[in-house]
Symmetry: C2
Subunit: 347 residues, 2 copies
């Protein structure tokens, strides 16, 4: 198996090293052969080549079986919205080029972290959500314009029937293997793109009569997610709403530092933490490596079909948490017997 590792920016560098180390250990212990290559993307790639996604990285990506990615972004660009070349363009381009239209984001709380969240434990206990976020359409990829005098700016929010169909089917298939509930999130009371989304999901729903379908407006969903996370099983949504809801849902899992994601579609699978480059804590060795390690676990399962190995990684994460090891983001001042460690110790 050929694995491309793209650490990217900020804490991406330090946490991805741990994801890779875990993959190497699994290969060693279970007699698999993983070939690792490295690629550049994001701010680091702009600095080195002027291009957030150099052709060499894209070529390597196309020739790999799976990709482990870190994070992207840099304050320089955030502070100057007029810059033309931007790190995020690299990530958006690789998602589009590799046809990674389905982004899976499992949200599950490890029992050990029940107290780490800002939400009450009794609200959280038992919550287990699988998000399907559409990843190659929506206002992310519609035409962007700036008027000549720069006084107005626009992005086209657009969806095509086939884009909704293919991710809806994937979400319904997954719902069947879980609690057979699917909630589709849109803003059909205002947006035409959302009305198409809802029409198509209603059609696909007929192919899955065994799955209970619910439609919810994004504003309501953003509220329900905190009010009663247990009501959700599979959540299906577009690119923008999925971006917002899954970051919000990180509070259900205690911390963003715990959340892994898998992007799939045409062929190659792409695995990355949900968190960003977090430049404020980068290089200090205090970032939580578990999202990258859990991304590696998703790779083993989804791209390689290695379920036992994937479970082994998850069990190791659980054991580490049970022993009391914590990075800052999941430390809970109210619990005793906790060791707050750096990235290395957690890894």
């Amino acid at each position: 198996k050929k694995i491309l590792v793209i650490p990217g920016d900020g804490i991406g560098q330090e946490v991805t090293a741990w994801g890779q180390k875990v993959l190497a250990t699994i290969a060693n212990n279970y007699n698999h052969t993983f070939h690792f290559e490295e690629g550049m993307m994001g701010h680091v790639a702009i600095e080195a080549t002027g291009d957030p996604l150099p052709d060499s990285t894209l070529d390597k990506a196309r020739n790999s079986d799976a990709i482990l990615f870190g994070a992207i972004g840099h304050a320089k660009y955030d502070n100057d919205p007029t810059l033309k070349v931007r790190p995020e363009q690299g990530l958006l381009k690789i998602r589009k080029e590799l046809g990674l239209y389905a982004n899976l984001r499992p949200i599950k709380l490890f029992d050990e972290l029940l107290e780490a969240s800002s939400i009450k434990p009794e609200i959280l206990r038992g919550a287990d959500i699988l998000f399907f976020r559409e990843l190659t359409g929506d206002v992310y990829f519609g035409e962007k314009k700036r008027s000549e005098d720069r006084s107005s700016a626009s992005d086209l929010m657009i969806y095509h029937r086939y884009e909704v169909e293919r991710i809806a089917r994937k979400a319904y298939e997954a719902a069947r293997t879980r609690r057979s509930k699917l909630c589709s999130v849109d803003k059909a009371n205002v947006l035409e793109a959302s009305r198409l989304w809802r029409e198509v999901v209603q059609e696909i729903a007929k192919e899955y009569p065994d799955v209970a379908t619910e439609h919810m407006f994004i504003d309501n969903a953003a509220m329900q997610l905190i009010k009663d996370p247990k009501r959700f099983d599979v959540v299906l949504t577009g690119n923008l709403f999925g971006d917002i809801l899954t970051d919000e849902a990180s509070q259900i899992a205690g911390s963003m530092g715990m959340l892994a994601s898998a992007s799939v579609g045409d062929k190659v699978g792409f695995y990355e933490p949900i968190h960003g480059s977090a430049h404020d804590i980068a290089g200090k060795g205090i970032a939580n490596p578990l999202a990258s390690i859990l991304s590696a676990a998703l790779m083993l399962d989804i791209s390689f079909g290695l379920k036992t190995e994937s479970q082994r990684v998850i069990k190791a994460v659980e054991a580490t948490l049970r022993q009391g090891y914590r990075t800052m983001d999941i430390a809970n001042k109210h619990t005793e017997n906790e060791f707050i460690m750096g990235t290395d110790a957690m890894g």
Copy 2:
């Protein structure tokens, strides 16, 4: 003062009656003269006239000093995204026609409700946020299209410089009267409209050097709002992101049933609960009337400059909660001495 009352759909009918009753009581006790008129909007107006915002309602609105509105929407339209005439069009049109570009949504927890939220009390205590949601631009009002074969659909997310400037100034002015902190929320790492938004806010920020400005991406903001609501003072954002964040923020105030909003701009002020028409509980007399009553309090303060009278209403709400009266949505099974009441008793 001429007040137009538009109850609208679902629980809008029953809660708005209470908002109006409170206004009438204030007029009586403080020797003011309020003239009430009634107007139709939403599903009820479609049923009666075929138009979600009949001209007669719009005329009355233009000739009033302030408007008390209830809620809009009906499951019939939510279940059939192909319907052309929809209740929400009435609300969007009145916002646009009256130039209501600034939607103020104060989020503050009444001490009595500290336990009613799904968020831990220690995270909530002291949270006090004022949202400024832009209300007449963004993807809500950009061109909507459906391809001829109906296989693709789009909405234009668009912002003009002047739209951002005028709401930014309002938000900064408000920040000065509070804790002098402003957080502007956008998605400038992906969207061109957001990059314009950020550019303009950065410019306006220079006029308010005494206010500390922060820029945050919407995904991060959706997370921070739950993780640490106390970090926010004034939050400034676009129409779509504001819609999502303020519904989410309802969990900070214990329930959506507590949240009032004021929409201002050109001349007439428009006051409404943040909650929707909630047809599932409509007509049962169990809806929380406090959001409508608090909307009336905002009207007294913002449109009429009657600060004492406005405070009187808020104090009455506090007293009611302190006595233990609760509607279902804010009832907390863990607290004793609570009376769960219907809308009438709460009102």
